[in-house]
Each structure stands twice: as C-alpha cells, then as structure tokens.
Amino acid sequence: MSVQGSAVRAARPRASVNSLVSSLLVLLLVAFFILPFSWMVSMGFKQPDEWFVTPPRLIPQHPTLANYLGALDPAFLRYAFNSVLVSSVTTAITIICALFSAYAFSRLAFPGRRQLFTLIILTQLLPLVVLIIPIYRFFAEQGLINTYLALIVAYLTFTVPVAVWLLRGFFASIPVDLEEAAKIDGCTQMGAFLRVVLPLSAPGIAGTATYVFFSTWQELLFALSLTTSQDMRTLPVGILGYIGEHETNWGLLMAASTLICIPVFGLFLFLQRQFVAGLVAGGVKG
C-alpha cells in the first residue's frame, strides 16, 4: 500500500478499498462454486439444435420442458422409488441402532470403551471398494443380488459408524446434570435418556439423519455392484445408464440430474444449521 500520511487518514480508504476487494472475491468464490450448476440447469431446458451454438448461451433461446417431461419416465420414477425406499429404511435403522450406542459411548463407563470407539471411528477410513468384494461374494452366494435387503445391509457398514460418531458429539454437549435431576426424580438411566436426552438432541438427530440420508441417496459403488436389473437400480446407477455408447442425450441427462439434486438441496437448505453443526461436532469435537 502506497498511502502515506497519518495512520488515521490512511486506514479508512484502505479499509474501504479492501472491503471492495473482498466483496469481489466473495462474488468470484460464489461464481466458481455455482456457475457449473447453471450449465446443468440451462442444458436441461435446451433442445439439441441449440447445443452447438457458438458462443454457447446460458439462457436458451427456445427453452423447452421436453427434457424434464422426458426425464420423468417410468424407469426414472422406479429408480426414484428405489432410492427413496432404500435411503429411508437405511436411515431409520441406522439412527435407532446408533442412538443407543452413541449414548453408551458418551455416558456409560465400561472396560474397552475407548478402544471400541476408536475402532468405530477407524472404520470410516476404510475403502468401501475393498469391502465390496467379500460382501458381493456373500450376497451372490445367498442369492441376494438385486434385493433391497442386500443394499440396505451393505449401506449400514458405512452409515452406522458415522451416525454413532456424530450422535456421540451431540449427546456430549448436553449437560449431565439434567439426567441426574431426572434420576433423582425416580427415572432409570434409560428413562432419563429417553425422556430428557432424546428430546434435547432432536436437532442433532435431525442433522445426523440428514447426513445419513445424503450419503445413501448418492451412493454409487454398492448400488452398482449389488443391483443388475433395471428394476432394482437406484437413481445414481440409473442415470449413469443415460450415457450412451455413441451419443448422449445431454438435455435429458441434465434434466434428470437437476431433478435428483432438488430434494437434496431442499433438505439441505431446510436443515442447514443442524447439518453443519453435526459435521463440526463429529469431525472436530468428537
């Protein structure tokens, strides 16, 4: 900075120049992360004859809804149904299973607690592609390929450890005094958990459930390996099939991609605060 003169006079223009610069940087940042999506949305409204227009237009000249209507065909709806079913059932089982375990890890003293919790945390570092090999073989032997059961059980391998971890972080932030008070009033340990801790951790549970739902909604590797029939595919595997060997209907594909993002973005914006709190609680504070 070349501004000379008294510190007081110098500070002000410098501050406002800098705040202008940082506003510009924020704009650039948002553009960098968001502009690619505009290409996706725009493509969804374009007809094929507009794809090759140079320079390409972000806003189509003759917008069409044909791609969106075309994307909502019975096959896509079937994928969506499978995804919703598998993700919701997995989320429900995960949360029930993880609630009790997380509570035990945050409140009860038992030998081996620390080691077992370390084990749970470390499972998150495992590459799923290594696990899928024996898991695939097992399900194939049992004739369970192309079943919801196989997908849900496979998903539990990565959802339960994460959920235990995140929920433990939330329980830890609730003062123990509250449970103590409940117990003096005649509650058992479990009673105190169900009546005092659970209601207070509702936001944390919502955040954890969202996280689990997200991770199963977008899961590719297991869904790709454990389903082979069209009927059983989930959305991520299903739309991969839209990529043609020789040509791809990008309009249709981007319309379908936009449709897949809508529930995820909606849920995220709705539960943003809990979601972020959950990540931070789990990732940093434990």
């Binding site: 299973c97 620390r114 470390l122 590459p127 739309i239 990529i243 914006l269």
Partner: protein, 323 residues
C-alpha cells in the same frame, strides 16, 4: 473444546458416590459400575455385531484372498503366497496407479485446504448476503457424486461443454480441447473437479474453527496487507491448527478412497491415465474377475491408509476426542 464431558463416566460415579450413606458407600458405586458396564455393552452390541460381521470378517476374508489365485471360474483357490504381490509390483500399471493416487490425493487435498481456508476467511466477515453466500458455496459438496461427475463430463465436452466455451470468452478462437479424452489433461481435469466438489467441506470446518479466533485478528489479516500475512501465520493458523490437521487427514483419506467421480468422468482412462486404487480395484474385480489381484491391490491401499490411520488416532488423542 469443552472439558465438561470428557470424563463424564468418571465424574458421574464420583458425584453419586459422595451422596450415598457411608455404610453403603463401598458397595454401591461398585454395583453402579457393574450396571453401567452391562447396560453399555448391551447398548453397543448391535453396532459391534454389525461391524464384526460386515466389516471385520469381510476384511479378513479379503486379506486372505490376496494370497490365493482365486478367480470366479476356479472354484478351489490355491494358496500362492506372495505371488500376487510380486506380480503387482512388477507391473507398470501398479506403479502408475500408485503415482496417480498420490498425485490425485495430494494435489486435491492441498487445494482443498487453500481454497477452504480462503473461503472461510472471506465468508467469516459480516456482510449483506453472508448466509446466502455460505449456503450457495456448500452446494457442490452436497451434490451427489454421480451428478457432479455427469455435470463435469458435460462441462469438459470439447464441443458443447462450458469449459471450452469459457476459454473462448477470453478470445481463444477454437479451443476444442478434449479435456477428458487426452491422457495429458485427464488427470488434471478430474483433480480440478474434485477440488471444486470437496473444498466446501474444508470451508465448513474452518468456518467453525474460526469462531474461536478473535474477530479483530481475522479482520486485520484480511485488511492489512503485509501485516495480514503475519497475523494469519502467527495468530490465526496456530489457533485453528487442530481442526486443520484433522480436516486435512480426513480429506486425504476420503479423496484417496473416492470412487464415484473418476468412475463417472473417465472410468480410469484414457489408458490408465486417471486410474486410482478404488477404480482399479473395481475394474480388476468386476470387469476382469481377478479376485486375487483385486484383493492384493486392496491390501496395498489398506497399508497406505494405515499410515493415515495412525496419524489420525494421534490427532484424536491430542484433541482428547476419544476420552
């Protein structure tokens, strides 16, 4: 980090024990401890069984298979010792995959850190639309991996993609670069996409960590040119260092294991130019049905991850997360 809950179990016992009548004082806490232990094991049993059956057993089986010549077609696998490992290290593809994986994870993590921290410092300031900007910036991370892959496959398309159109804006007449089709640009392209997709996670973590740093320091770091770097280096970074270390470790492991993006964008190609451990293991197993070779690569990637795991445990201990 709050200290109150770390020793919850212990403090808890001490408090109640002091309230019990002296005569029963010796027995009651012990009974209490037993009850806690039983209840604890009971409550974690479902999770432990799940981990045992779905993670530990398959892992042991996978490691075992890496010492056999098992294929889908030969039903009785033979023990071949380290043969699979010797085959692996003697093949060029193996070293290509190792190099790609390290480049991929290394570059992605460095840029996710830089972009994540930069974004966090910028979006930590109070300005109109701060909440909106934060929400928008997180979207790539919330986007399903397959969708992100398909979107960038389109953007990298030489003719109808946005990347070349963007370059075109700057006056380069016909930049019809096939980003993903060219072995020399493909790895860079998938790395760029992974940075775009993953940086918001780092940003969220650093934003949270910055709440513990005084607002003045952050303002000063942003506003005050030369002195700003000083503040960033000597005040802000040391303060958020525990979060930085854990975030960098986590993003390294996640990137190393990330399958979706490369599978959708390039399938590991062209040639082996973007093949990393997860995509190569998948190809060996599901496309070439080489069980032994696939699990061997799996074990090698586990060994690499083990190094990260040790650092991770150390960090968690340091942050007192495990207590």
């Amino acid at each position: 980090m709050p200290q109150s809950w770390h020793a919850v179990g212990g403090d808890f016992l001490a408090d109640t024990a002091s309230q019990v009548k002296p005569a029963a004082a010796a027995r009651a806490p012990r009974r209490r401890a037993w009850r806690d232990a039983y209840l604890g094991y009971f409550l974690i049993a479902p999770t432990l069984i799940l981990i045992g059956v779905l993670i530990v057993l398959p892992l042991v089986e996978a490691i075992g298979l890496s010492f056999t010549d098992k294929l889908f077609i030969n039903p009785t696998p033979r023990f071949v010792g380290l043969q699979n490992y010797l085959n692996a290290i003697q093949s060029d593809v193996f070293w290509r995959v190792v190099l790609n994986s390290l480049l991929w994870a290394g570059i992605v993590v460095v840029f996710q850190f830089l972009l994540g921290l930069g974004s966090a410092l910028l979006l930590n300031r109070n300005f109109h639309g701060q909440a909106l900007a934060r929400a928008l910036v997180i979207l790539p991370w919330v986007t399903p991996g397959v969708v992100a892959g398909l979107l960038w496959k389109l953007l990298y398309d030489p003719y109808i993609g946005g990347v070349n159109a963007f370059i075109h804006l700057f006056g380069i007449p016909d930049p019809w670069i096939p980003w993903l089709g060219n072995p020399s640009t493909a790895l860079g392209a998938v790395i760029f996409t992974a940075i775009w997709k993953g940086s918001p996670f780092s940003m969220v973590m650093y934003l949270a960590a910055l709440q513990g740093v005084s607002q003045d320091s952050i303002e000063a770091a942003l506003i005050d040119g030369a002195n700003g770097w000083n503040r960033l280096w000597h005040v802000i970074l040391p303060e958020i260092m525990p979060t930085v270390r854990i975030t960098v470790l986590l993003t390294s492991v996640w990137t190393f294991n990330y399958f979706d993006l490369i599978y959708v964008l390039t399938h590991g190609g062209p040639g082996e130019s973007t093949e990393i451990f997860p995509t190569y293991i998948y190809r060996l197993f599901f496309e070439q049905t080489k069980l032994g070779a696939a699990t061997t690569m799996g074990v090698v990637s586990l060994v690499i991850l083990l190094v990260f795991a040790l650092f991770y445990i150390r960090e968690l201990n340091r942050a007192r997360v495990l207590e």
